[in-house]
Symmetry: C2
Subunit: 341 residues, 2 copies
DNA sequence: TTGTAAGCGTTATCAG
DNA sequence: CTGATAACGCTTACAA
């Protein structure tokens, strides 16, 4: 009863090599626990049959998948690309496979994706940011699935995190902007509901404003989804006020590039007429015209550290300690002092 | 012998609802084949237990995963993002889940990823482009795994494809450039080995040059991986020749943006001093300064059609017919007539 | 409409 | 060092 023209199984290999399935399995997973001659025979059978282990069967028997799931807010721009790339490279070194999905910044989709990944047997999960229905973490805890949060470091959150202090990072930038002499500040933030990164960045700006004696009416804030077009629209709104801001801080580089683009369309010179800043320092920031002053985030380092941390949690059954990474301002051409009135 | 604090199984649900596992399974997969009262009882048990089906077990039993695998060359830029997004949205409508991985444009990595996806039980595969070791397709055929190629339509390839004619598309653009009066043309191509899209685009340019009476020495070609920085470097090389080109055709928008950026750094005005064109029409092309003349590819439509085609192949056991989509030139500011010498 | 039971392809435990 | 054999959690004929 051979299976005609279908995927070969362990059994087929075993039969061909004249050994038991157990031995074949060993050859593949613990080669040193098998004598050379046998192994050779088995491996050649594997080869001529073109055998590939059935993943589902393996998972069922071994009860682990060596798979890590990651859910990022978006794949449509490069915000998470570099970090995730480094994450996956490091995972690969340790024998893990990465499964990625995206949530479009929607909590309910994120939740669904978490379920999917868990059902698929992810041994561990990487999530972006801390804001999340606590039930999700209850459930994950109950299933004993290690979770690590990235892109936002919080020292005493329920879940360990590898990332940076969004609030401090944005504080530093806002402080610098005010220091240059700007007194009317525009803010184009991402949607802050359910997004601690966005929220903390806003808070950083507010802190800096307050600390430098600005009134809350000096800071004009808009929230909008992270898309280029939205950055452009928000820029228009901000600049069409009676006393438009002289500097606009954007929640990320994508929004900032949108603002930059719209400024050009409106015939405004950056930074002479208005300064614009971003956050993340993705490639786009360097390429933009003028090049974007922004907060540099160590994406690759963050991805790598996250992988190491998560693998550690998995293999040592430990809790995970988290890591705070440093960010710094990259000053390019889009920020300058305000024009003399 | 209850499993303390671990994932609940079908058995747990069955016991709690006082039915057999078969009935629980039915409630989940064929709700209408179960009487209301029972179903209600079962579903509430599912709910209170927080039961999620074990994917691996389900796959083993049902012998399908309702999962489609896709391998794209890169996630680092947005070239494939939009199309893939549409692909996955359409798949979702039909009850399929998408698993994505990337190959970094390396054939050996693509092959490994194909193996991984197949081992994970992908019911079907989406691959980019036709160039590929034939053994891969032999193997996939033997395993009866439907494969669809996208981003490159070839009417009589072994594998059906949904995409466009890269050669014709680039021919049209090159023709337009020459028509404007350009006689010395630079080409910054992606690496053409193992990449039929890149190769066909080059051929399109060569056809157009020949047909318009240009000599092969009038066309200066460079190949380089698709990255912004490489576009910039290639631009420098091309422009540092004795008789530099007056127009540079780039293999995609990413290379073109790099070229654009370097032009600005070198103090060259685009298009007055040199024209630059791209390919793909990703968002970057609109945002670039000056905005990029490029070939518009109907990414979303392509993704959607690919999904429909692949689902069709899966559900009707059919061969797949393929679809050729139209592209068109989008003229923006980066292309103009050559300066009068 | 519901239950019984036979797999699905591995891994892992125990003997030998 | 190698071979039986019992899980793993679910789907799906086949019976009842």
């Amino acid at each position: 009863m051979s299976k005609l023209r279908s995927a070969p199984t362990l059994d087929d290999v075993a039969r061909m090599a004249g050994v038991s399935t157990a031995t074949v399995s060993r050859c593949l997973n613990n080669p040193d626990r098998v004598v050379d001659a046998t192994r050779e025979r088995v491996l050649s059978a594997v080869d001529t049959l073109g055998y590939t282990p059935n993943f589902a069967a393996r998972v069922m028997a071994a009860k682990r998948t060596s798979t890590i799931g990651a859910i990022i807010p978006t794949m449509e721009n490069a915000i998470f690309a570099r970090g995730l790339q480094a994450f996956q490279e490091e995972l690969h070194k340790h024998g893990y496979t990465l499964l990625v999905s995206s949530s479009a910044y929607k909590p309910e989709i994120e939740e669904e994706q978490i379920r999917t990944l868990v059902a698929r047997g992810a041994d561990g999960l990487l999530l972006i940011g801390h804001d999340r229905d606590r039930k999700i973490h209850d459930d994950l805890e109950r299933r004993k699935i290690p979770v690590l949060v990235a892109w936002s470091f919080l020292p005493d959150a329920r879940v360990p995190s590898v990332g940076f202090d969004n609030r401090a990072a944005m504080f530093e930038l806002a402080h610098r902007v005010i220091e240059l002499g700007h007194r009317r500040i525009g803010v184009i933030s991402g949607v802050s509901a359910g997004n601690d990164r966005a929220r903390h960045r806003i808070e950083g700006i507010q802190d800096a404003a307050r600390q430098n004696g600005l009134l809350s009416s000096d800071v004009m804030m808009l929230e909008t989804p992270y898309e280029i077009e939205n950055g452009a629209e928000a820029f228009s709104k901000l600049m069409s006020q009676d006393a438009p801001p002289t500097a606009i801080l954007c929640g990320n580089d994508v929004l900032a590039v949108g603002a930059l683009h719209r400024a050009r369309e409106m015939g405004l010179r950056v930074p002479d007429d208005v300064s614009i800043t971003g956050f993340d320092d993705i490639e786009l920031a360097r390429i933009a015209t003028p090049a974007l002053t922004t907060v540099h985030v160590p994406h690759r380092e963050m991805g790598r550290r996250a992988a190491l941390e998560l693998v550690g949690m998995l293999e040592n059954q430990t809790q995970g300690t988290g890591t705070r990474l440093a960010t710094h301002i990259v000053e390019r051409q889009s920020l300058g002092p305000p024009a003399k009135a």
